[in-house]
């Protein structure tokens, strides 16, 4: 049985605010063709099973599972669709390889956010229908509540949150896949329009369309296919209590627990020392800071200081979201986690072009499923 699992192919398509020239199927197909060419496999012959990640309400089609196989090469093969973030798909693909039953697995997730005309209503539907939804609030208020309590408990400042926006959007200038690159000043971010105070408009990742496909392989297969395998050394996921009444508003214990599982599997004791860089969820700017603390990169309240001091810049001690993150690249709904993982894979292979980090061996990737969830995944990847 295969003990190790590698990512041997990656592909992407879209990564634009809208993609009116392609259907979601065509977006997936383009990403799949790229991933299979990258892996050097023929999906009809070689891929044994397929995992896609999607949310029916995002697709506007119920039982969306039925609409995913053809464009991935999965017709008449074992395919299943899960709800979650793209990284949940990576975890599922990992487990399928570890069963020993499959040696080549495709994982896919995508966003056609531009096609959803009433997304705030859809997101609002993720709230409890009896207790919370009748208050009729735009669901971004939940991010406002979280941010306020996070600032309050950790003494993190709005300036430190704004520094995340400046950094990520500037990083995105070197990423051709990024739609929302910008060279902003702290003041421009801070003086932007408010959304759900203390959360400002510039601190919310804008939406984008895009698809990401990854090919996972057993160690034996990976050695045959590539000399640049990226190993999934540890992966964990966790759901916190969903209640908006009694959750931990300042911390992200679900990410802390997911990280503990991933680190234990990967043998990581001191993530700051043993991991070279990270791509973490920055759906909201403060989330990058909160997530870094939950990931154990630093103590609660320190991530803002690290950011201010430049430690999370591409040339800092612990680069975070060199890709530009969701703030710079655009938020890909269910595909967001795989988009973050894509950057880690490219960096570990030395294929990140002008934003390539030097001497990186171990990368961290973390996802969060967005408001109102307390659902996230953490993975440790290495070359």
């Amino acid at each position: 049985m295969s003990e190790r699992v590698a990512i041997v192919g990656v592909g992407w398509a879209g990564f634009r605010p809208s993609t009116p020239y392609q259907s979601y199927k065509e977006l997936m197909y383009e990403a799949a063709v790229r991933a299979y060419a990258d892996a050097g496999v023929d999906p009809r012959r070689d891929i044994e099973t397929f995992v896609t990640v999607s949310e029916d309400f995002h697709e506007g089609t119920s039982i969306f599972d039925e609409y995913t196989p053809d464009q991935l090469g999965g017709a008449l093969k074992p395919v299943h669709t899960i709800g979650g973030d793209g990284l949940h798909g990576l975890a599922t693909g990992y487990m399928l390889v570890r069963t020993g039953r499959f040696s080549l697995v495709t994982v896919e997730a995508h966003s056609k956010a531009s096609n959803i005309l009433t997304l705030p209503y859809i997101t609002a539907y993720a709230q409890d229908p009896v207790l919370n939804r009748p208050l009729r609030l735009n669901p971004e208020y939940i991010a406002g509540l979280e941010m306020h309590r996070y600032l309050y408990e950790t003494d993190t400042t709005p300036e430190q949150c704004a520094a995340v926006v400046v950094k990520n959007k500037r990083n995105a200038l070197l990423n051709p896949l990024a739609s929302f690159a910008a060279d902003l000043t702290l003041d421009e971010v801070l003086n932007g329009p408010p959304v759900a105070w203390p959360l400002g408009r510039h601190e919310v990742a804008p939406l984008a369309d895009g698809a990401v496909v990854m090919v996972l392989a057993s160690e034996e297969k990976a050695r045959l296919l590539t000399d640049k395998p990226v190993w999934i050394r540890g992966i964990g996921w966790c759901n916190g209590p969903a209640s908006l009444e009694s959750r931990d508003w300042a911390d992200a214990p679900h990410i802390r627990e997911a990280a503990r599982l991933a680190y234990r599997q990967a043998g990581i004791r001191d993530p700051f020392q043993e991991i070279d860089f990270a791509e973490v969820d920055d759906t909201y700017a403060f989330k990058e800071l909160q997530h870094l603390e939950a990931l154990g990169i630093c103590l609660p309240g320190e991530a803002g200081l690290l950011t201010e001091q430049g430690a999370t810049e591409p040339d800092g001690e612990f680069p975070v979201n060199v890709s530009g993150g969701s703030l710079g690249v655009g938020h890909l709904l269910d595909g967001t986690g795989l988009a973050r993982a894509l950057e880690v894979v490219l960096q570990l292979r030395g294929e990140a072009g002008p934003r390539q980090l030097e001497d990186v061996e171990v990368g961290l990737v973390q996802s969060w499923r967005g408001v109102p969830t307390t659902s996230g995944v953490v993975a440790v990847l290495s070359n």
Partner: protein
């Protein structure tokens, strides 16, 4: 079975109990609106329908013509880039006779959904539509049918630009 049970346990509920607020519940309706990008292949297909033409796509690798067109052949995974105009006639592959509408109303004159294998496409490749101008009892698998189109000026590039399909024989008679 239920006749033998004399004593039903539990608390009986009447509709009036809900109406009078004795039983509490929360009602809400989802506002989910979408505008699906039709993309390359289905975009071509719909543009064809607007012109009164059914388009298929050719897979040279599988030597097949599929309809509706797509950008990838699901069997060989090769890209499909060539669009082929097909006939607006075909053969009924399968059909059903439905006496209940989509929103669950009983109807006397049934609807007849059918899969119609389009002339010019490879065997087994058809489109899902409805039959009309036909006695439901006379519909058979293998029946030859022809599209009844909306008037050209009313077509909008939608599957409903074809109103329904009717037996080919009747068309010949007229």
């Amino acid at each position: 079975m239920s006749k033998q049970i004399k004593d039903f346990r539990g608390t009986p509920l009447r509709e009036s109990d809900f109406q009078e607020g004795k039983v509490l519940y929360v009602h809400d309706a989802l506002r989910g609106e979408y505008a699906w990008d039709t993309g390359i292949a289905i975009g071509h297909y719909l543009a064809g329908l607007k012109k009164g033409v059914i388009l298929g796509a050719r897979c040279d690798h599988c030597r097949k013509i599929v309809v509706p067109p797509r950008t990838v052949c699901e069997w060989c995974f090769r890209p499909l880039t060539e669009y082929v105009p097909l006939q607006d006639t075909g053969t009924v592959n399968t059909f059903s006779i439905c006496y209940v509408t989509w929103d669950v109303k009983r109807i006397e004159k049934p609807e007849i959904p059918a899969v119609i294998e389009i002339d010019g496409a490879s065997p087994g490749h058809g489109i899902l539509h409805k039959l009309g101008d036909v006695n439901p009892e006379e519909v058979t698998i293998g029946m030859r049918v022809q599209a009844v189109w909306k008037p050209a000026e009313e077509r909008e590039g939608a599957i409903t630009d074809i109103l329904y399909w009717r037996p080919l024989k009747e068309v010949k008679k007229r």
